[in-house]
Amino acid sequence: MDKTPGTHPVKPWTFDDYTNSYIRRAAATGIYDIRGGGAKRRVPHFDDLLFLGASMSRYPLEGYREKCETKVALGTRFAKNPIMLDIPITIAGMSFGALSGQAKEALGRGANAAGTSTTTGDGGMTIEERSHSNKLVYQYLPSRYGMNPDDLRKADAIEIVVGQGAKPGGGGMLLGQKISDRVAEMRTLPKGIDQRSACRHPDWTGPDDLEIKILELREITGWRVPIYVKIGGARPYFDTTLAIKAGADVVVLDGMQGGTAATQDVFIEHVGQPTLACIRPAVQALQDLDVHREVQLVLSGGIRTGADVAKALALGADAVSIGTAALIALGDNDPALEGEYQKLGTTAGAYDDWHEGQDPAGITTQDPKLAARLDPVAAGRRLANYLKVMTLEAQTIARACGKNHVLNLEPEDLCALTIEASAMAGVPLAGTNWIPGQTPESGKHD
């Protein structure tokens, strides 16, 4: 045997095990990978920011003793009836079809208990979600599946969806496995076919048309309810500017970590910007048009903790929205179901084949037996607990920064741990007064 010392075998960085498995899968199936959820890659995020807390120059508020408000009003610009929320955390749009009826009910129950709103999704409004949601935002999507004026008038707000963070520029997809009789009927399509949702609206293109579309929706609903415009994290400064000019009451901005029920993995991982990179340009647009806080900004995409909430608000958002985190609170990807996840060829925490309808947690399925596993009362309670914990955490941070309302948090309360996060968030790199891309005089991005 040759005993000449050799180097260890080296796997190429470019062709790592995951990449090779991707190539083999593509070669075997001829179909791109479709999955649910948002971007899984590591991108600069709120973890890369820290609060400074109080110090000699500003004093903190006493925890549990001095009040720190969390109420937020959304839609104060033109609507007669803005949405009044007890907490600055809302539930993002997720459809009946993508989710089971039990999951939609649980979202409504949890949101009600916490004093916040839920949102419909592609496929229209179900009786169950209207009856279990005190405040319900009705999405107006390109597919217009299930869209009708009766439900429009029942909504507490209307959210015109231009894009979403997981797939800016992409439409939706609901594969045949999840098209039950009821889902098919709601969408006026045959059972069992793959349902494609268009990527752009059928009756308007561009911001000038959007302004007229908003006028129509206001006329149909008597100018009572707020009109939100949801955009994916593509060009946040210009998209926010155009949404404001088109007449939006609220801009919902969704970064690339924001989830979807199903789309191509290549879309999720390679299109759109991280949430952290989107927020400051959007706030800048609001400020440049002198409507910051008059037109509210709701940020979504990877919000997980009260710290994330506080950081989003400090950077200028009026509220945040959660989707994936809400599903986890209901029971999605629970390690208690590990055996069943393994049977599906995955593991708890990684399960993302939401489109296949085999969710052992009974959340992303239309299979009656699987859906029955989810107790909407208990799951709703878990969501309410989670929302309250996040709110308490955000209040804790706000008090530590001397703020008597979570919306009083400001960029000055933050520093960044990395150069990338500093540049994106527009706050100084920790230990310095340096913000890449800014000069002390400019006060904003170059």
Binding site: T29, G30, I31, S143, R144, M147, N148, P149, L152, R153, G176, R187, T188, L189, P190, G192, I193, D194, R196, A198, P202, D203, W204, D209, I212, K213, L215, E216, E219, I220, T221, G222, W223, R224
Partner: protein, 234 residues
């Protein structure tokens, strides 16, 4: 007959008055009597007579901008001139008649009712239609009935490029020339039930045409479930 003059009234006031005929905006509708109204001097205004929900008759004397008769329920709306983009979009029921031409997206996503266009319709007529019947006396533009799900599109004249692209279960009837068919749209046999249905629609739309002169188009249903071998057609 009540008359609303858009040179003397704000759009909101006109729509509120029309919507009140059914018990008011947000009401259940259906309770109004058969009233007739007219809107004069529309001057291309947008969103005229939207969200109506009662069996009333509204005549718009002139031409309208975007989304006239949007989301109509029960009402009969007659536009004496031409209509801008998105006329009768998402209509649920009732009848909308355009005596002139209609711009893009006429009857987009509409679920029910009857839309009659006595002139020509521009591109994407009947896009994503979900049950409405549309009768166009003239020609229609390209990409009409794109992703149309249900209902009937009847064209007495010619159709532009890519008719019925990515069609689902809607039926298309054309008397004139079809420049090209879109993906998964094919010509189909005209059976007796189609002749009967077409005759009924033509009569409702006051169209003088023989159903036997039309050809029927529908979905080949080859793109309903993804198949890599059809990738070039998507």
């Amino acid at each position: 007959m009540e008359t609303y003059d858009l040179t003397a009234m704000e759009l909101r006031a006109v729509n509120a008055a029309l919507q009140a005929k059914g018990g008011g905006e947000g009401g259940e509708g259906g309770g109004g009597s058969n009233q007739t109204c007219e809107v004069i001097n529309p001057r291309g205004s947008h969103a005229i007579a939207v969200g109506l929900n009662a069996p009333i008759e509204v005549t718009v004397e002139g031409s309208t901008g975007y989304y006239c008769a949007g989301m109509n329920q029960q009402a009969t709306i007659n536009v004496t001139g031409s209509a801008g983009p998105g006329v009768a979009e998402n209509m649920m029921s009732g009848k909308v008649v355009i005596n002139g031409d209609a711009s893009q997206y006429a009857g987009a996503t509409a679920h029910g009712g009857l839309l009659v266009i006595k002139g020509n319709a521009s591109s994407r007529c009947g896009i994503s239609m979900k049950g409405v019947d549309i009768v166009v006396h003239g020609n229609i533009g390209h990409m009409s009935a794109f992703m149309a799900q249900s209902g009937n599109l009847v064209v007495l004249g010619d159709a532009g490029d890519a008719l019925g692209d990515s069609l689902y279960e809607a039926h298309i009837f054309v008397r004139g020339e079809v420049k090209s068919l879109g993906a998964d749209c094919i010509q189909k046999e005209m059976r007796s039930e189609h002749i009967e249905k077409l005759a009924h629609l033509l009569k409702q739309a006051e169209a003088d045409a023989d159903p036997k002169d039309f050809r029927r188009y529908g979905s080949a249903r080859q793109l309903y479930n993804f198949d890599i071998d059809n990738a070039g057609d998507y």
